[in-house]
């Protein structure tokens, strides 16, 4: 009895922390429609700030709580600066830009935080006056947990009062429900957005600041919390603070008990719950239809078939690539394989997002399934390289078919979140299922067959598979299938009105993209000789998004430029100190100054040259 109560209380204390960060995320989304990846950074910076302040004023109760509040306020101020310098410029941009931009902020903060506080984990002091445990039914319960259990609902109540009793709060709610109406009322929107962002950042900072007596402060805090925070916001319904509270309690309490039965479950549980909720209630528990889309996007230009000159340039480029292993050193050959793998991955993601209009935050899932299937084919089933290579894309296809069926029932941010959940579930299973997947240790010794083991021969295998895959997707984009997919993206109503089964079509598009991501994973597995769970991880999914964005989302050639540039930049920049900072800055520059990416630049250049000649 006492034991279960203790579990429940632990769950509720976790719920409070989770609620603080998720409520801020939800408010920011509700008002600005930005999916703010940097929210995890606010949480982390809040923890570091409060560590410094609380250690400085250690001992006194006032010092502790003063430090916590001051840290949260400082984070709110940081939020204001970021809102005014970055986000304000991209409120009208597509979701992808916002996500990638806020991820750039994440990278910058990782290096800034490390520069200020160092790479070591820091152990904060306990809260004075709340540093021991009380016994309830014989079980020790930390006093601090009880305080947290009280703080969560208190903050909910405070937010409720602000939203219902102040003019500003009423405007925030109105903006969440109907943004045009607020514009029509002539309210100063910019101010409203900034204030909402500051409040959200403050809450995230508070969540982090309150965390220091419970866990070590580390540089991993940002990304470890953000996934779960997204889950809570989505389950609750994006924009709903009450929803965030209910969802935080639901997740945390379920988790507290589920780990008693099945200790490994905690990594995947939130994502499974989210998937189930989204399937039953597509807008979350308290969400409303219409909340799933950001600003309307400008229509794309029509596709054009490649002209004769373009075709010649492309054939020449492929030819040069084909001959390059004869001319360059082995490590360059290996880098070129990386480039080709990344390009196929990016092209498949672009097919899904650009052509299909389905933004995926978890495309690495299918890459990873392809890689793992190939690795298991040779290591456990003794299949040999060629049969494994042939079979593995079908495993990726099966995974895409399964998850895609659920995903295409949603749209916009909710669809993106479900793709993220799918990827996290697969990642969690891979990570935990030691006996089958090798868990954290991965699968080693996945080498190509004897005849293919030289770098040069493997290059040509990769060349055929990757260039073949890219060619197939490009062909598909110009085909009736691809056009129909774009049609569904442009107007579902019109597509339905000319006889298209829109969901089925998206499902097939999703599956095709997943299958070719799987093919990229296969080539990757044999080129590295090993696979690890991070081939399915969020980081790789985001890399894909960055490639697509860097290259330019509105052009079929975009992901090709983007992937090549990404691998080159990464290869160069990761050798430097503070490469995250540099990389984050590059991302922000592209998002803010060159939103049509490299493809846009190339397009302008070609036009200029043509114009110059004429």
């Amino acid at each position: 009895m006492g034991f279960y109560l203790a579990q429940l209380l632990t769950g509720l204390a976790n719920a409070s922390s989770l609620f603080l960060i998720a409520s801020g995320l939800s408010i920011i989304f509700g008002v600005t429609r930005i999916v703010n990846f940097a929210h995890g950074s606010f949480y982390m910076v809040g923890a570091y700030m409060s560590y410094t302040l609380v250690t400085l004023w250690s001992g006194s109760i006032l010092g502790y709580w003063g430090g916590v509040i001051l840290a949260a306020a400082a984070v709110g101020l940081i939020g204001l600066v970021i809102e005014m310098t970055i986000l304000r410029r991209i409120y009208r941009a597509p979701e992808l830009f916002q996500l990638v931009a806020t991820f750039g902020v994440v990278l910058i903060f990782q290096d800034l935080t490390q520069a200020v506080w160092g790479a070591e984990d820091l152990l904060g002091p306990r809260a004075p006056g709340l540093d021991s445990a009380v016994r309830i039914f014989g079980e020790p319960i930390p006093e601090y947990d009880l305080a947290l259990i009280a703080i969560g609902p208190a903050v909910l109540l405070a937010i409720w009062l602000v939203f219902h009793r102040t003019r500003w709060g009423v405007l925030v709610r109105a903006a969440t429900q109907d943004r045009e109406m607020v514009g029509a009322l002539g309210v100063n929107q910019a101010w409203l957005f900034s204030a909402a962002f500051v409040l959200g950042a403050f809450l995230a900072g508070l969540g982090g600041a309150l965390q220091i007596p419970r866990e070590a402060v580390s540089l991993q805090m940002d990304l470890s919390i953000i996934g779960e925070a997204f889950v809570v916001v989505v389950i609750g319904g994006m924009g709903s603070v009450t929803g965030a509270f209910v969802a935080a309690v639901l997740i945390s309490v379920l988790n507290a008990f589920a780990i008693l039965i099945f200790p490994q479950v905690s990594i995947v549980l939130p994502f499974v719950v989210m998937a189930v909720v989204l399937i039953v209630r597509p807008y979350g528990l308290f969400g409303k239809p219409g909340s799933e889309h950001g600003a309307p996007v400008e229509p794309e230009q029509p596709l054009t078939l490649m002209g004769q000159k373009g075709l010649m340039v492309m054939i020449a480029a492929v030819f040069v690539l084909a001959l390059s292993p004869l001319a360059v050193a082995d490590f360059t050959t290996i880098l070129l394989v990386d480039v080709m793998v990344a390009t196929l991955f990016a092209v498949s993601l672009h097919f899904m997002m650009g052509v299909g209009g389905m933004v995926s935050f978890g495309h690495a899932a299918y890459f990873g399934v392809g890689a793992y299937a190939a690795a298991m084919g040779v290591k456990y089933f003794g299949l040999g390289m060629v049969p494994s290579m042939a079979l593995a894309p079908f495993c990726a296809a099966a995974a895409a078919l399964f998850f895609g069926w659920f995903c295409v029932r949603l749209s916009g941010v909710y669809l993106a979140m479900l793709t993220l959940a799918a990827a996290q579930i697969l990642w969690g299973v891979t990570f935990q299922w030691q006996d089958f997947t090798g868990g954290d240790d991965g699968i080693l010794g996945v080498w190509p067959a004897q005849w293919a083991s030289s770098d040069r021969v493997y290059f040509y295998i990769a060349f055929v598979l990757c260039i073949g895959g890219i060619w197939l997707l490009r062909r598909a984009a110009h085909s009736p299938f691809g056009y129909t997919l774009r049609g569904v993206r442009d107007s579902r109503t019109r597509a339905e009105a000319i006889g298209v089964d829109t969901r089925f079509h998206q499902w097939m598009g999703f599956t095709l993209a997943g299958t070719l991501a799987g093919l990229a994973g296969v080539v990757f597995a044999f080129s590295k000789g090993s696979v690890f769970p991070d081939t399915l991880g969020i980081a790789l999914s985001i890399d894909g998004l960055i490639m697509v964005l860097l290259g330019g989302i509105h052009a079929l050639a975009g992901p090709i430029y983007g992937a090549v540039a990404f691998v080159m930049i990464e290869d160069w920049v990761t050798r430097l100190d503070y490469w995250r900072f540099i990389f984050g800055a590059i991302i922000l520059v592209v998002v803010l100054l060159a939103p049509d990416g490299i493809a846009g630049g190339v397009h302008r250049l070609v036009r200029m040259i043509r114009g110059g000649k004429a």
């Binding site: 229509p299 794309e300 230009q301 029509p302 596709l303 078939l305 062909r475 598909a476 110009h478 085909s479 009736p480 299938f481 691809g482 056009y483 129909t484 774009r486 049609g487 993206r489 442009d490 107007s491 109503t493 019109r494 597509a495 339905e496 009105a497 000319i498 006889g499 298209v500 089964d501 829109t502 079509h505 097939m508």
Partner: protein, 257 residues
């Protein structure tokens, strides 16, 4: 000859609003039928139930004797019902011609073809359809650049692509200049005559309605309040009440609901 479309007791309410209330009518082959009524009368809701976008609370819709209720829009389209929308729905990232080609590709059941070049398929057929609505000269323009009136004409070309037996046109001339309206409806009337297709359309411009419609249905607050020829409708006291008494007068300008 028997009716193309038979509508019986169609009803739909949204929350407390009875948008369509026990509406029954038939459409004969080759008939050009106008459905008129003030904004909010339930015309669009009616259309949405006829071709499957909305499920009615009660009633039946039969196309050549076959029940349509519960059939999704895409299947109803395949059975030969075309549709244009009050607020145009086109593929903005494609050219004008490609929009028509898409309807043709779907009609020829090739949307799962993954190797052909979509933009090279059914070019002549698409051009012919564009000629029909005098949009041929704009065929290579991106759809996103079109003026609103041109989008409406494009929608007509798209809707004709699969040679429908019945065409539902929701405010086909809204947003057009008066001369354009007359031209478009004269064109549609010509198509009705030549191809024997039945058309149901909603319209605010009474000149257009009286000039072309074979028969007129008047809807008010979800209920069918009158039915007849132009002359009969003009003389009908209830209709005059709704239009004149309601202050909307036989509107010249369609304000988009």
């Amino acid at each position: 000859m028997s009716a193309v479309l038979e509508v019986q007791g169609l009803s739909k309410s949204f929350g407390g609003v009875q948008a369509v209330d026990d509406v029954s009518f038939t459409v004969e082959p080759g008939e050009f039928l106008a459905l008129i009524g003030p904004n909010g009368a339930g015309k669009t809701t009616c259309f949405n139930m006829l071709n499957g976008y909305l499920r009615p609370d009660a009633g039946s819709v039969k196309l050549r004797g076959q029940e349509l209720i519960g059939t999704p829009p895409r299947k109803i389209w395949r059975m030969g019902v075309g549709r244009t929308f009050q607020i145009t729905e086109t593929f903005l990232s494609m050219t004008v011609r490609e929009n028509v080609q898409m309807a043709l590709i779907s009609h020829h059941r090739r949307i799962y073809d993954i190797f052909s070049r979509a933009t090279r398929l059914y070019v002549d057929e698409a051009n012919a359809l564009l000629d029909l609505v005098s949009m041929r000269d704009q065929s290579a323009r991106p759809c996103s650049e079109l003026a609103y009136g041109d989008l409406k004409r494009l929608e007509l070309a798209i809707a004709l692509a699969h040679r429908p037996a019945l065409l539902l046109m929701d405010e086909p001339t809204a947003g057009m200049a008066p001369s354009e309206r007359i031209a478009l409806m004269a064109l549609t009337a010509g198509i009705v005559e030549r191809e024997g297709v039945s058309v149901v359309f909603t319209e605010h411009d009474m000149d257009v309605v009286f000039a072309h419609a074979h028969r007129i249905l008047v809807l008010n607050r979800g209920m069918l309040i009158a039915e007849g020829s132009g002359a009969e409708i003009r003389a009908n006291p209830t209709v005059q009440e709704v239009y004149l008494g309601g202050g909307t007068v036989f509107q010249k300008e369609a304000d988009h609901a």
